[in-house]
């Protein structure tokens, strides 16, 4: 299984940016974060002690419409809880996250956005990290499809997702909490429980076996997603501070 690849700060003029490719779903996302910025209009009265988070999702070939509004709402819900909007310099200011879908399958009107959602979430997180926006924790997300036979596929391609009985997107925080659960299709509790276990293994790399042993599933699922995110950030820090790290 080929894991996703990402790079930080590809854009020069944005405060923070990230590009993210997921080979199995074929998605390719470019994200930028500008923070803290002065927002047009007066929103002070609503939340005078907090930052306003705005998320924009731009499809590659079509103007943004209802589907994008829906997924923007989900992403804002997740990252809005992580951003420490009361830090100095962020109150009454805005954190503007723009995510452009630059490659991969197009989501046409009425299609499910769930296959793209983990890639969008990861891009938003990496761009926030690159912009040094204060966050309380990080997270990792994955999408799983369950077909009619009950087989779970990780990060399905567009055809697999269309043929699946149910689709699930789960995000786990770096502390192991379940942050997001979006599902569509018909499924029962047992299926969801299996999906959750598999997703937790994909994100954190460990699954607890029946005898209570912690089994490493690196062989089946490649590197856990959390490790990928950490490595991407560490690479960028090493590049930025090579003069300091080499000297020490």
């Amino acid at each position: 299984m080929v894991g996703p690849t990402a790079s930080l700060s590809p854009l020069v003029r944005a405060d923070g940016s990230a590009s993210y490719q997921c080979p199995s779903t074929g998605s390719n996302i470019l994200g930028s974060v500008n923070a803290p910025v002065e927002l047009p209009g007066r929103r002070d009265a609503l939340k005078p002690e907090d930052a306003t988070v705005e998320v924009f999702v731009k499809p590659g070939t079509a103007p943004a419409s209802v589907g994008e509004r829906y997924v923007e709402g989900i992403i804002r819900g997740v990252v809005g809880r992580l951003i420490l909007g009361r830090e100095r310099g962020y109150q009454r200011r805005g954190v503007v996250i723009t995510l452009a879908i630059v490659g991969g399958e197009n989501v046409s009107r009425g299609d499910s956005y769930l296959t793209l959602l983990p890639a969008l979430l990861h891009t938003a997180l990496l761009a926030l990290l690159s912009a040094s926006v204060p966050l309380s924790m990080t997270f990792s997300a994955t999408v799983l499809s369950v077909d009619a036979a009950g087989k779970i596929t990780r990060e399905p391609s567009a055809e697999d997702a269309a043929a699946a009985k149910s689709l699930h997107v789960l995000a786990f925080s770096s502390k192991g909490h379940l942050l997001l659960n979006e599902s569509q299709g018909a499924f029962d509790f047992d299926t969801w429980e299996r999906v959750r276990e598999r997703a937790s293994a994909i994100c954190h790399g460990t699954s607890v076996g029946e005898d209570g042993d912690v089994a490493m599933v690196e062989s089946a699922d490649g590197q856990p997603l959390e490790g990928t995110i950490r490595e991407t950030v560490e690479d960028q820090v090493h590049r930025d501070y090579s003069w300091k790290i080499d000297a020490a």
Binding site: L8, S9, D15, G16, P36, E38, L39, D44, L82, L84, E87, G89, Q91, R92, R93, L129, S130, A131, S132, V133, P134, L135, S136, M137, T138, S173, S174, K175, I229, R230, V233, E234, Q236, V237, H238, R239, D240, Y241, S242, W243, K244, I245, D246, A247, A248
Partner: protein, 280 residues
């Protein structure tokens, strides 16, 4: 420190990395917060009673002298004024009380008092025109939306231009560099002369090297602004003054763009001086 400790938001700082002196309170710099309590309810003397958590991604650094800890996060961000930063500002227009200056192109203008110069009175005050450059200190940043940032070229307590060199920058030329490079240059230029290290301060030997090579043409002046600007002047240089100024600027911007290591910096300086036909 063989391998640096790189943290992501939500990571807890291992207590062995924290400075051990307990006399002074620990000062938390940017990127660190007290976000949670340890799980055990009764803190004992051996375990600390608090958990420090990173809120930004970056390298964990400690300053033993100040008993401070902070996170060095990504260095090349947009410049946001902080009190006491030294910046290079460009006068945009003037009003009866203030010069309105540009610090970064994307931010609103900042104000610089007409009398905030060394020895300025109502009768004798600097007549700055549009486009003039000033080296100034950030006096205050306002709170909230639409707040004005105020600069000063004088220490209000003493009436002197402290540290030296604040005020109108005449002649010379300004080059754009990244914000991270500006911070490194400031550390390198303030520490040079005091300690001669093999690798220079902050991994920069370019200023020492240029200083040695350009001694014959009369040396040069340099002012670094935290807003990613560096002003260079070789007014003593005579015929080669302009060439030397441009050569210094090219050295600094090339090193910034390509992240050159000290050995390559020395090579670059000699190559550029040779290309520009400045005999040393």
């Amino acid at each position: 420190m063989s391998s640096p400790l790189i943290l992501l938001p939500g990571d807890e700082i291992p207590s062995e990395y924290l400075p051990s002196s307990s006399s002074a309170p620990l000062r938390l710099g940017p990127g660190l917060r007290l976000l949670s309590q340890p799980p055990s309810s009764k803190p004992t003397s051996s375990t600390p009673s608090h958990v420090l958590t990173a809120t930004q991604a970056g390298i964990f650094t400690t300053d033993a002298k100040k008993n401070a800890v902070s996170i060095l996060s990504s260095p090349n961000r947009r410049y946001i004024p902080v009190v006491n930063d030294l910046v290079i500002a460009q006068v945009h227009h003037s009003s009866p009380d203030y010069f309105h200056c540009m610090v970064t192109p994307q931010a609103p203008h900042v104000v610089l008092g007409q009398l905030a110069f060394e020895g300025a009175t109502k009768k004798t005050r600097p007549m700055l025109k549009q486009g003039d450059l000033v080296y100034a200190r950030v006096l205050s940043v306002g709170l909230g939306a639409g707040a004005e940032v105020e600069l000063t070229c004088v220490n209000p307590a003493t009436g002197k231009a402290e540290p030296g060199g604040l005020g109108h920058l005449t002649g010379g030329m300004v080059f754009d560099i990244s914000n991270g490079m500006a911070v490194r240059l400031m550390r390198a230029s303030s520490a040079s002369g005091q300690q001669q290290q093999e690798d220079g301060v902050a991994g920069l030997v370019v200023l020492d090297e240029l200083g040695k090579k350009l001694e014959k043409v009369g040396g040069f002046e340099i002012a670094v602004g935290r807003n990613g600007k560096v002003w260079v002047d070789c007014s003593n240089g005579g015929d080669v003054a302009v060439k030397a100024t441009v050569a210094i600027g090219r050295c600094l911007t090339t090193i910034d763009q390509h992240d050159l290591v000290p050995a390559d910096q020395k090579k670059l300086v000699s190559r550029i001086l040779r290309e520009m036909k400045i005999e040393v």
